[in-house]
């Protein structure tokens, strides 16, 4: 997905990635999150992305005339460092994470809704406010000639 220069191919690969993630959520017994992943990400967000790609009529990204070897090498090195750092931390030291006993409450609609409307009621309401702000901002940005 990242290596491809064509934005449409990247978007299609990202949809595939979202579907695979939804299956992994199912394996982790987060059923509601799996459904939401397909609905919101693969459904709503990727349609928005594809629509914008279509609207802007994007072709292939042109190659740079100067390749920026130093920056690319440095960023690649830092990312690999980050990956290996956490990877070895995970290999060495998983004993700090001790798993509590007891059965798992599967992430169905019931348990998730109960947590969302009792313990996390305030974040839920703030999220709705955030969506409202995003809606107004989008309409403003799209309407006015900036």
């Amino acid at each position: 997905m990242v290596l491809n220069r064509n934005a449409v191919y990247s978007a299609i690969s990202l949809v595939l990635c979202f579907f695979s993630l939804a299956v992994i959520y199912l394996l982790l017994e987060a059923y509601f999150i799996a459904v939401l992943e397909i609905f919101i990400y693969a459904g709503a967000i990727m349609v928005l992305f594809l629509f914008v790609i279509m609207l802007l009529n994007l072709g292939r990204e042109k190659a740079l005339e100067h390749f920026m070897h130093l920056q690319r090498g440095l960023s690649m090195f830092l990312v690999v460092l980050f990956f290996l750092g956490i990877f070895f931390l995970l290999l060495n030291d998983t004993s700090v994470l001790h798993q509590p006993e007891g059965g798992f409450v599967a992430g169905g609609v019931y348990s998730l809704g109960e947590a969302l409307f009792t313990k996390y009621l305030l974040p839920f309401e703030v999220a709705s406010l955030l969506l409202l702000v995003a809606l107004i901002g989008t309409v403003y940005l799209a309407k006015r000639k900036i």
Binding site: A7, L14, E37, L48, V52, E61, R72, F104, L131
Partner: protein
């Protein structure tokens, strides 16, 4: 069968690194945006994995909130990209140097 936590974390790490590389290497604003979505998904995966590991549903509530945030962010970001394209006729971030000089 239970998926071990380590496998989930390694997959999440891989996805996150891929997203970071996409942000750093691509120059198309929309592809960079999609890489940011990939990073958000990696964090979601880690949250779900830990939620499964600790037998708690709290992590999935956070995933829910992150998805809300991602939806809002995409709407605003794509509106900004379209406004940018209208003014500059490009989405290549190398050519957008409004704040230079």
């Amino acid at each position: 069968m239970v998926v071990p936590l380590e496998h989930v974390i390694v997959l999440s790490l891989t996805l996150f690194s891929t997203g970071v590389l996409g942000v750093l290497f691509r120059r198309n604003a929309i592809t960079i945006f999609m890489s940011i979505e990939l990073m958000l998904n990696a964090v979601n995966l880690a949250l779900v994995g830990f939620s499964r590991y600790y037998n708690s549903v709290d992590g999935q509530v956070f995933v829910f909130l992150v998805m809300t945030l991602a939806a809002a962010e995409v709407a605003v970001g794509l509106a900004i990209i379209i406004a940018l394209y209208r003014n500059r006729q490009t989405v290549n971030i190398d050519e957008i140097n409004l704040m230079k000089n």
